[in-house]
Structures are given as C-alpha cells and as structure tokens.
C-alpha cells in the first residue's frame, strides 16, 4: 500500500484509494489525483488490497480498475458493499472497455460512475468530482 499526501482542497473528497494492477496507471493516476486534484492517495495493486485499504483508510472515494487478476473490479465492489464499514464509500470504476451498455451495467451495480481509459490526467479529478456530485 502506498500513501501520498496532497494539499487538500475545498471539496468533500480528501482521500482516495486508487486500485489498478498496472503500475503505469497507478503512477500517472497518483500524480493526477494528488497533484492536480489535491487529494491524499492510497495506491494498491489488487482488489483484496483495495478492501483492506478501504477498511484501514476510510477514504472518501475508491477508484477501481475493472479488469484485474485474482479479484476483478466488480468482485471487489461486491466485497466492499458487503462490508458495513465500507459499504457507503462511493466507487468509480475505470475501464478501457467503455461501451455504453457496459457502462450502464456498472452503474446499475451501484457505482457512482465509470471513467473510460485512456484518461486525461489533468482533468481526471474534475471528471471524478462531477460523477460523485451527480450521484
């Protein structure tokens, strides 16, 4: 688990757990969320670690990759929703598969939204905030 501190901000999101098995996505996501968004960022590389991080860090948001080995995004989401400690934490999925019918499926699960990859690291925090505020 890797934690990096941001400068905080004037919004409700202060701490985010970023879960992706790709280290390049974690690296660029961390800079985006911390340095552009101003949020504290906890980076993890699989779904099981995301559940542990959610319990330990009580983030304001979890950004969750969909295709991951061992425990995929939807499986991780189900575990989070089943845990009373974490069940109310908003989850935004990230995926390179962004067909509209698939997007609806993920939001039907109860996620706050879906971010399509590739994403623009300079506008990612803004996209996330818009999804959470919409919810």
């Amino acid at each position: 688990m890797q934690i990096s501190k941001g400068g905080g901000g004037l919004v409700a999101i202060r701490k985010v757990v970023l879960c992706d098995d790709d280290p390049d996505i974690r690296a660029i996501g961390e800079i985006s969320l911390r340095d552009v968004g101003g949020w504290d960022v906890v980076c993890v590389n699989d779904g099981f670690a995301a559940v542990d991080a959610a319990r330990a860090e009580m983030p304001d948001l979890i950004l969750l990759d969909i295709m991951m080995p061992r425990l995929d995004g939807p499986g991780t989401f189900a575990k989070l929703r089943a845990d009373p400690q974490c069940s109310s934490i908003p989850v935004v999925f990230m995926t390179a598969k962004a067909q509209s019918h698939e997007l609806r499926g993920y939001t039907d699960l109860g996620a706050a939204g879906v971010i399509a990859k590739p994403f623009d690291p300079l506008t990612l925090p803004e996209q996330i905030r818009a999804l959470v505020e919409k919810q």
Binding site: G6, G7, G9, L10, V11, D22, D24, I25, A27, I28, I31, S32, D35, V36, G37, G38, M67, M94, T95, A96, K97, K117, P118, F119, D120, P121, L122, P125, E126
Partner: protein, 103 residues
C-alpha cells in the same frame, strides 16, 4: 482544487513519467508481438495473452499521450474478441512499430 502553479508542477511530473513510459513502451510492444506470433501458431493461450496485453496497452498508452499506440492496441484487443486473424494482427503490430518510429 489545486492552483495553476500546482498544475504546472503536475505537468512537469507527468512529462517525466511519460519519458519513462516511452522507454518501456518498446518492450511492451515486443512482448505483444511475441504473444501475437504465439496466437498465429493457433495457440489459444497466445490469443488470450494477446488480448490481455493489448487491453492493458490500450488503456495505458493513451493516458500517457501515445494516442495512436492506444488505438492500435484497442483494435488488436477487439480482433482477439471478434475472431483472431493472423494477417490483420501482424499488420497491427507493424503499425504499432511504425507509430513508435521503427520503420
């Protein structure tokens, strides 16, 4: 939200990350090429591995600004899902190398 100065600093960090990613990109395309060749030998595991590697590259390369590499990788992933065609797959690999600057 962060200040313009913080955004400028973020841009510098992103540029440094991008340079690092660029040096690893050739290795990733080479790995993808090996997977495609295995798939061309009618190896089902090769098709699965090609799809997995292409999927990762499709999402990552574009985020680092390598838009064409990301798009070509997405095409290769779609090819694996729709029905693997060796000629099309090899053509996509050649286009990937061209996008990276290898003739």
């Amino acid at each position: 939200m962060t200040t313009d100065a913080a955004k400028a600093a973020a841009r510098d960090k992103l540029a440094a990350l991008r340079n690092g990613f660029a040096t690893r990109l050739r290795e990733r395309v080479s790995e993808l090429e090996d997977a495609v060749e295995a798939a061309c030998s009618r190896d089902d595991l090769g098709v699965h591995r090609t799809e997995s590697l292409a999927h990762q590259l499709a999402g990552t390369a574009g985020s680092y600004g390598f838009v064409e590499v990301g798009e070509l990788s997405a095409e290769l992933e779609a090819l694996c899902q729709a029905g693997f065609n060796p000629d099309v797959a090899r053509s996509l690999i050649e286009r990937l190398w061209t996008a990276l600057g290898r003739p």
